[in-house]
Amino acid sequence: MRIRCKASAGTMQSSDLMVVVEPAETLRVDVESTVKKQYEHLIRAQISATLEQLEVTAGHIKISDRGALDYAIAARVETAIRRAAKE
């Protein structure tokens, strides 16, 4: 899937996350999280798995997380990407 425009998904409520994606030449993922110290590696692993599944190879993915669980991360990232791909 190709990121064609800027799009976002999610909220800043507790246990949720906000995702902003925009077109870029390469793939870059920035993570802000209230539990960054403990869980950044797991958040990144979940984002990578979702991007791989959607076959996203380029784009700037920005995450602002408030302790979301894996399935919330997957759902919010997928929604933002589908919006950015204009599906």
Partner: protein
């Protein structure tokens, strides 16, 4: 409780966009929280619970303000919901980084929403959300050189021989001089022109690098009352935040040991800013150097005087006040309206 988005009064900024009952309720809530209601924002997020307004907050450009939550809903996640609405509103308007001024005791509530503390002093804390300062500094990193560097911050509205003199004196005393041009577009001349004229006028000085201040000096985020030329407790608090942000977050990244400013004989706001600059920078082990103004035809050169000469179309005086690049620009461009500062 409904989502802020679904209740957000719609309408273009600048018209009478918000339905009056909601605005009246919002105003009452804001004032009951001890905040001052300031009209002139771009968007208002509101949250209702069972028909009653329980939270609201406004966005003016990239600055969030008047965030108020009814006592019955404090300590819940209402702030998260409110901030979500404001972040979405900011994204729609193209602002990925948002600022908020708050009381230091409320800073932790914003930090729990991934806001980053920029600076705190006295009764005020300034935080930001989004890529913000780290992204700004990363973008400038290729221009940073080691040594004993200096900084000058100017609005340059427009760039005068007085600015050039200040830059030349400063550049002679440091390894590299960073000339920061205020990004905020509240002046007669647009940022692109102010930046380009500063760059062209200083191109002959090998150790001067012209930079964009972004939101991090004399901006709507750090020092909004600069543009109102008003001097009161609020303006002083904003100066403190602006100068501490420079001393703590900007100067160290650019290896800046001294900041230079033109002596200010006329404008009381700028004169007070200079006095406070000397005190705040001194506290952080930085030097503040005031450079005397140069004169033309027996009077100090200032951008205010230049704008007066432009207003009266007096190009023979302008030749003594501005460098060739600015003069060429003034001759080639339709002159902007001059009612404003």
């Amino acid at each position: 409780m409904s989502h802020p988005d679904s209740n957000r009064p719609q309408g273009p900024a600048g018209h009478a966009p918000f339905d009056q009952p909601a605005l009246g309720e919002a105003r009452a809530l804001i004032e009951s929280c001890g905040l001052r209601f300031e009209p002139g924002f771009d968007d208002l997020a509101v949250i209702y619970d069972q028909g009653r307004l329980v939270a609201c907050g406004a966005r003016s450009g990239y600055v969030l303000k008047m965030l108020a939550i009814a006592p019955s809903h404090q300590g819940t996640d209402t702030l998260g919901e409110l901030v979500t609405g404001l972040i979405q509103s900011g994204l729609r308007a193209g602002h990925e980084t948002l600022f908020v001024f708050t009381l230091p005791q409320n800073a932790a509530s914003f930090q729990a929403l991934n806001f980053r503390m920029l600076v705190a002093h006295g009764d005020a804390a300034l935080l930001e959300y989004g890529p913000g300062l780290p992204a700004y500094l990363a973008a400038q990193s290729g221009l940073i050189t080691p040594g004993r560097n200096g900084a000058v911050v100017i609005n340059g509205n427009p760039f005068t021989l007085g600015h050039l003199h200040l830059v030349e004196v400063a550049a002679g005393q440091v390894d590299r001089l960073y000339l920061f041009v205020v990004r905020e577009d509240r002046s007669v001349f647009p940022f692109e022109a102010r930046f380009r004229l500063a760059r062209e006028a200083t191109a002959g000085l090998g150790n001067v690098t012209v930079l964009d201040t972004s939101r991090y000096a004399v901006s709507a985020g750090t020092f909004p009352s600069y543009f109102l030329k008003r001097l009161d407790a609020l303006a002083e608090a904003q100066m403190q935040i602006d100068l501490r942000l420079f001393a703590q977050r900007i100067a160290p990244c650019f290896h800046v040991a001294a900041r230079f400013a033109g002596q200010e004989p006329l404008c009381p706001t700028t004169a007070a800013y200079n006095r406070m600059m000397a005190a705040v920078l001194g506290e952080h082990g930085l030097e503040m150097v005031e450079v005397p103004r140069i004169e033309a035809d027996g009077l100090p050169i200032s951008a205010t005087r230049v704008r007066a000469a432009i207003r009266s179309g007096d190009f023979s005086t302008l030749e003594h006040l501005v460098p060739p690049a600015t003069l060429a620009y003034l001759r080639s461009e339709p002159l902007p309206k001059m009612e404003d500062t």
